[in-house]
Structure formats: structure tokens, C-alpha cells
Symmetry: C2
Subunit: 134 residues, 2 copies
DNA sequence: TATAATGATACTATTATTATATCATTTTAC
DNA sequence: GTAAAATGATATAATAATAGTATCATTATA
């Protein structure tokens, strides 16, 4: 199983790659050459990161993408939220039909505790810290 | 997303239900009446729990299932392992193609830390502790 | 004004999970 | 002995999430 989807994973790579090279502007084509993320997928991700405020974009010829903010202010949690929504490790159990005794379900609190831990990790990780290998 | 699959979830319910009623033997039909887990799915799960050593079974008329060991010795980790294999939250990234720099991937260590925490929770949780609401 | 970029979006493919269905085998009550 | 009631084994279908593709519209500039 995977805690992070590929969209999240690829996006982190993009952000790290950009952050490593200062405040340069990048086209999708350039990023493809460097990172080999499937091209149309990459483009969609870039657009989502733009909409989500992680990147800024310029349209038209000589357009491209750049980081919207400093690497130390971009949290892994932001990327996860953008592509996966709020982390909810309990999801399935309560989706369509209500769990018979949600309140007292002791499994729930275990999962919740793991979820909390994961979110804390994501909140405490920035693009900068990833670049520094922390 | 869900940390536990339905197989795992259902199985925990079955184990807790059994544990709550002493060392009784149960048929799949009885468990269905009590737990309303889809019947063929329930049967398959019971068979897997039997093979996996969580339950014992008796075949033939007046056959059925019972706990293979005391509730305090059955760990949530055992159930997860049986139905989901070793928890591997990193899975996707390294599946088909190798991550370009697995060793140095700082994301990996974050995920690993979350995985370790989750496993610790699972190891520390037993059917008995779930019954007691811990 | 042609070109080279992003924007928007519909579509397809793949995979994992969830669920069903069926027939074989075993045991026992009668 | 044998029918009935249980599990064993296993193939298949349905659903949903993820991953990836394709295409046309729009924008800006060389």
C-alpha cells in the first residue's frame, strides 16, 4: 500500500528539483527532460500545483512555472492535502454505511493515533528540509 | 484512503465477537446473523483466518470455527499481516522501476518512520485490549 | 502572426479491493 | 448407509481508485 500517491510523490520531486536550482522558471518540457515523469501526467500535476498555490505560472510563449514561495515554507502536508485531501486513514469504515458503534470503536482510536502521527510528520517536513536530507 | 482493508476490519470484528462470548464454536451462518458481513466474503475470510492460524475449524456437520488462541495473545498486527502482508507504506515508489536514488530519498525515511509507528501500534494492540476499549 | 507555452477537460488503462458463485469434501445425525 | 449441514478450494465478476493519455482552447511573445 502507499501512503503517498504518485501525484504527491512526483510533485515533491518537482518542488525539490525546482528548489535546488534557485528561483528559475521552468517549462513542463524542461522538467520532463530532467525528471522523466510521464509528460501529460506531469503537465496535469503542474497545473494542479498552480491552482493549489504551490506554483505560479506564466502563460504564452516563454511561459512556465516557478515556485510560489520559499522552499522552507512549503510543507509536505500542503502537497498531500492538495492531491489526496485531508489524510483520513479511517476512511473506508465509515463511508457508505455508518459503523455500528463508531464512537466506541476502539480500532478507530488506534488508527486515529497513527493518522495524527503521520500528519505531524507531514507538517514538520518542508521542501527545504527534504533537500537537506532531514 | 484506508490503512486497514475491509478484510482486516471484518476479521477484527469477528475475532472480537468471538472473544466476547467465551470459547464457543461458531458457524459462518451464525456469524453472519450477528455481524451482517456479506456471507460469501465472510466465509472466505474465515477460511483465511483458519489457514493463517487465527482460528481453528471443524469440518462436516456440526462443524464451525473457534479462536485458535487466547484473545490477549492475538495481535492486531497478526490480522493485518495475514490480510495485507507486512505493512509497507513506501510500496508504490519502488515497485516496478527503482527509485532513482532510493538510499538518499529523504521522503522514504519520513514514510518509514510513520510505518514504524503504525506497526508499533498494531503490535501493541490485542483482541483483548480492543474488547476492553484500550 | 506563427509559435510555443499553459489551461481545461474528457477519456482510457491498470490495479487493488470487494464481493459473488459453485462445486468438492468432510462429518455426523438419523 | 445416506442425506444434510458444515467447511475447503477456487474461479469469476463488480467496483472504485489510481495512473496515464489525448486533444483542443487560450495566451503571450519573438
Amino acid at each position: 500500500m502507499k501512503l503517498l500517491t504518485r501525484e504527491t510523490d512526483y510533485s515533491v520531486r518537482v518542488l525539490c528539483h525546482m528548489a535546488a536550482k534557485g528561483n528559475k522558471q521552468w517549462t513542463a518540457a524542461e522538467l520532463y527532460l530532467d525528471l522523466r515523469i510521464p509528460r501529460p501526467f506531469l503537465r496535469r500535476i503542474l497545473q494542479m500545483m498552480n491552482k493549489g498555490g504551490l506554483l505560479e505560472s506564466r502563460k504564452g510563449r516563454s511561459g512556465g512555472f516557478r515556485l510560489a514561495s520559499a522552499p522552507r515554507t512549503i510543507k509536505l502536508a500542503d502537497v498531500v492535502r492538495l492531491f489526496q485531501g485531508e489524510l483520513r486513514l479511517n476512511e473506508c469504515l465509515f463511508k457508505k454505511r455508518i459503523c455500528p458503534d463508531r464512537k466506541h470503536c476502539p480500532l478507530r482510536s488506534k488508527i486515529q493515533s497513527i493518522e495524527d502521527y503521520a500528519v505531524k510528520q507531514f507538517e514538520g517536513t518542508t521542501i527545504q528540509s527534504l533537500l537537506q536530507g532531514n
